[in-house]
């Protein structure tokens, strides 16, 4: 039935959501909520450290202050900035580039001490090149090799940085 109580409840919630969405922009809501959450977390952590007295402030005083400020900022973002620019939407995240970069950095972290500079740079550059889609695997390999050669020549050899080029 279209006009039963359940259906009416759904319609009202829908209208409420619409009103909320028009009042606050999503980006600001998310941003503000995150800041607020961080502020609450900070206050929680800071309460575990000694507050000290006003004359002799302890380790928990300053973080506690910061936590309160963060909570205030979070509220400010939602209420003040959120009610401003209603057309503002979240920009499109570059997921591919972000993943490629994370992979690249992760590979470096894994390999630099276990395998040495050359393999690490090779892997990092190869992974990072996945941020762009318009190239062939051969191009990726050639670029990676080129960069590896440059890095090996510049960093440990020319600049004398103490890194093993290859570890067995």
């Amino acid at each position: 039935m279209h006009d039963g109580p359940a259906a009416r409840g759904a319609l009202l919630t829908g209208r409420l959501m619409e009103r909320l969405r028009r009042l606050f922009s999503l980006a600001d809501l998310v941003a503000g909520a995150l800041v607020l959450a961080l502020g609450v977390f900070t206050l929680y952590e800071a309460s575990g450290y000694a507050r000290g007295s006003m004359a002799n402030i302890g380790p928990g005083f300053f973080p506690g202050l910061l936590g309160m400020l963060l909570v205030a900022c979070g509220i400010g973002i939602i209420l003040v900035e959120g009610t401003r620019d209603r057309s503002a939407a979240l920009p499109r995240p570059e997921i591919r580039a972000a993943l490629a970069t994370v992979a690249a950095l992760g590979l470096f972290a894994l390999l630099i001490e276990r395998a040495g500079l050359a393999p690490a740079v090779m892997a990092t550059t190869y992974a990072a090149s996945y941020a762009t889609t318009t190239v062939t695997p051969l191009f990726r390999f050639v670029t990676a090799s080129g960069v590896t050669i440059v890095c090996v020549l510049v960093f440990p050899i020319a600049l004398g940085l103490p890194m093993r080029i290859v570890t067995w």
């Binding site: 998310v30 941003a31 000694a50 963060l70 580039a97 470096f108 740079v121 762009t132 960069v147 890194m163």
Partner: protein, 502 residues
Amino acid sequence: MVDLAALSENLALGFSVALSWEALFYAMIGVTLGTFVGVLPGVGTMSAIAMLLPLTFLMEPALAIIMLAGIYYGGAYGGSTASILLNLPGTPSSAVTCLDGYPMARNGRAGVALFVTTIASFAGSIMGLMLLALVAPPLAQFALQFRSPEYFSLMVLGLMAAAILASSSPFRSLASVVLGLLLGVVGIDMLSGTSRFTFGWPTLFDGLPLVAVVIGLFGVPELIANVRSGNYQRPQAVRMRDMLPSRDDWKRIRPAMLRGGSIGAFFGALPGTGGMIASFMAYAVEKRVSRTPARFGKGAIEGVAAPETANNSAVQTAFIPTLTLGIPGDPVMALMLGALMIHGITPGTALITSNPDIFWGLIVSFLVGNVMLLLLNIPLINLWIRVLSIPRQILFPAITAFVCIGVYSVNLAVADIVVLMVFGLLGYALMLLRFQTAPLVLGLILGPMMEENLRRSLLISRGDPMVFLERPISATFLGLAGLLLVWLVVSEIRRRRQLRAT
């Protein structure tokens, strides 16, 4: 008022330091590298300074700072190249140059635009330098009266100025600042031995690794965001002949440079604000005083000259609070401050008297560096154009590798790379949610200092928080911060009233 005899004596000392072969060499490397990094979108001067910082550990302090400073003000020259040719700023402070620089390039006047930015940059630097040489010594004298409350209040003023003036989302910037302060708290508290926000990870006991955090927050998001964007047209080489502005151009450029330079000098000297806000303000002022504001956005040469003068002027005057008070003039200065401290130089009122050779040597070196930049950049414009033509598919992975190596080389710790990853993602998320990351770095470096000064102030006043308002200088700083807040509220109300009217 200005003691010319003392000034010339000091400058002579400075010349003797700055004109040594090593000093010239490192200045040259610094400015060239700085321009190069400034030209490349995605790698900013902050990342470059952060990466080269560990390499300078073995160098003599004065030479190290000469080089790092060269990167800093060199970057201010190069940043506009990408803005003009690709509509992509190479450094944050050259974002405004896109507005009229890119249209000029599209009208075939790229050469003139590039030439003008070089001249304007030089003019701005000289203006800023003069102010630095003249104002710093008396300011250092004045600052001898500063105690903990004054330092604390000045930092509050600086951070508030950074948050409120630098962006249209003050709450976000403020949150950035506070987050930075919080990150500065991470580690073992010296006084009580309590480990704060370390969650049991020993790597964090000494605090967060600065270089990894800064590059993660700045460099990584820039890389991720820019790998695809921008019109990818190959910029064309420009001929020397095409670069000279017309007489009409010169008539417009001269007053624009004067105005821009003054605005830049002011914002640079104010702790917390720097080249970015200075260039933005200079553009806004230029447009407001122009008789033909409609030309702006379509290739008005003043729209290029004024912000460029402003940001270079700001870059030089940012050294004023940094060297005389030990409070960074902008986020990059904050990093430079870290660099100075690592080399055992404590900037502050004592610096000018205890190490006059370093102070004046730096000033003269800045002068020499700017002259080098002026002479280098004009013929090298075509080289920079060619650099910008390197396909992003090669540049991006290469930069990623350099970043990893650079960060790793600081402590030879894999943990730093993990920090880099975490902060890289965090930085990207912040960028998506439209937070400014520059105020965060300011907070990160000032955090420990602020807490220390707060603690000491309250200790001396025996717990009385009114001490900040009872001391006149401190009260003035806090009063100014309060005025900023008032200005913020007023402009927000005005803005909403305007919106409602339309």
